[in-house]
Amino acid sequence: MNRRRMAVLTAFAVSLVLCGCMNRVELKDRTIIRMIGVDTDEEGFVVTMLQFSPQAKPGEQNSSSAAVVIQTSGRSISEAVSKVSHYNGNEVFLGNSSFLVVGQEAAQEGLERTLNYFNANHEVSPELYVAMAQGRAESIIRAKSQEGSNPTQLKSLVEQGRRNGLLGRPTLRDVMNRLQSNRAEPYLPVLTTVELDGNEDVLKIVGMAVFRDGRLQDTLSIEQTRGVLWATNELNRALITVDFGEEDASRASVELKKSRSRVKVEIVRGYPVFHLSIRSQGSIREVSFDRGGGAQVDELTEIQNQVAETIRATVRQTIDRVFFEQKSDVFRYSEFLKKYAPTYWKEHEKDWDRLIEKSRVEIEVSCQIDHPGLENKHHQIVKMTRSA
């Protein structure tokens, strides 16, 4: 009797390891999506998807893949995505999607209504890259399909952009985090397509889109993007070229390898003052002047000061435009206020727009260049002889 019981129980226990077989879907029955673009029209949403379509034949060791673009529309994104099954009966699988492009019009109508679908989808990774298209998202997806269906190229474009100070943290999680915040606003990198050699379209990062109340408010240039990233402590690397010396006759290119910014909040006469301090560290890449190149150690201080002044001017211009003019808090100053002056913030939260007008941002920048580089200061011999 006991043996029989044990046999039944063992059989039951073994069945537990088979639970993964429930309602399984074969790979061939899936439409695997690598990139998604979301635009809006009168009906609702237009979703353009780049499908991963393996082209392996029996016996082939290496399979190629074709890029197939699918476009559907619906009153909601779910409805549009579900229409993909009308093409081949397959179910959409978003687990391999690594990139989401939001069209400019969709961004103007509100980012949250577009992103909610992806944030609530169990297949989508919170690290999904999100960008905005200059124009329609469809054009970005179609340009990618011409290049081939390898979205890792696009991912690498974004990652390189992050490393080189062109982009911030454009992931779904970061954007949703800012959208869920009381007053902080998200930003997205802006992509466009440019024609190469007269026929092929390639992608290019052209700046940053900033939002207010979750809707597109303004687009910034690459230079202003750097200003935002400096202010938000998200800039990893940047190259700055400054003029120095007598009558600014010399020019130095400095590679900033490390930048760190801090924000302190103070309430002065009833209004917030944000003290932004930026500390940068870098090294000289190139120094040139009319008759030679290289830098001397005693010139480093002047170059440092010029670099610091350039950073300060860039950040000042960006903050003035984005924070004070557009009233878009991509800098998360409202969160700093909530953290460091919670009572004050609780009292004035509803009056944030007026608070922005009355607040001040004081910027202090320092730059440390510890080495003049591999090249010492030198002059062209010919010129020296002539002058002699």
């Binding site: 537990l16 639970c19 309602n23 879907v25 919170p126 869920q180 969160e335 919670p342």
Partner: protein, 368 residues
Amino acid sequence: MLNEQIRVPKISRAQLVALLVLTRLFILLIFVPTTHESPGGTTSLVSILFGYLLTVPVLIPVFLLLRDYPGMDLYQVARQLSPRLGKLAAAGFYLVCLLAVIETAAQFSIFLTSAVYPRASSLWLVLIFCGAVLYLVFLGLEAVTRTAAILLVAVCASGVLLVLGLWKFWDVLNLYSPFYEGFSAVLYSTVLCVTQNLELVALVLLVSNLNTDQIRSTFWGYHNLSNLMIWLMAFAAVVILGNDGETRSFPVYTMFALSGSNVFYRFDYILIMLWVGTSMIRAAMYLLLASRMLNELTGRRFGWWIPALNGAIAAVAAVVVAGDIRQLRLLYLSLASGLPVYLLVVLLPTVLLAIRWKGKREPKEGQA
């Protein structure tokens, strides 16, 4: 035979601590239907600390009572001091333990069908889960505690890997004043921390299985370790997920999914494995206790049939509850309302202390 296996086994202090800590960690992985009403973020961080402190005075009556009855659990003490109250206590313990099994099975199903396999059948998930839990119950308390200890080590190791995988996402700007929502929010959250500690009910029943009389040190082991782990996980959720974490149904799962995208590809599957193990251990522990209490309540030993009957009841109820989120909300609120902990861990020992005190006085008066 089964009842003998349930009743007789003795477990060590460390084994009981591991069992209780693991079952307590279940709270990290569940869907809480009251998320939008209860305070989150940094308020919860300070509430865990206050809840840790508040739990100690709440348990004074039970410790005073158990100190004088070494080797006995709260039900046995109640039966000895007042057979009628003993029956009532057994009924209360049975009901709470059975509800805990139902909640565990339903939460297991809801997590898997919403975050992992939305196409999976809730009915089959619950049935397979309850079948596996019954098998664990058949193996007995010793086997369950040993498995719990192994799983706890795996949980700790995965916690370390989680932190390693997520360090670059830390943002201390998410840490604002815990009193931002007001002191009443902290107080409310603190009370929830105590009342939702259902494992205190399990603790007062499992002390009779200890092979030592060190009940207080067992409690401290459980209390310190479980609160430390919950606090660390809550801290990580606040600094990593920030505002978005408060809107997620399963924030800890989101963190695992996030860490996977960084270093360990698809790290969320480790969480799913641990979640399955933790849920099974929790359900098995409460099913063991429910079966024990039903035996005591009826005064007869039904052997294998009692856990099977309880398992069947739990499976049917869990299928119903998992299919309707409003039912789950009712069940969750009934367990987290504080009534089970208040009635069985605070009021019952206080009444028993009063009966005992009265019993001590009456012979003295009689002698006089």
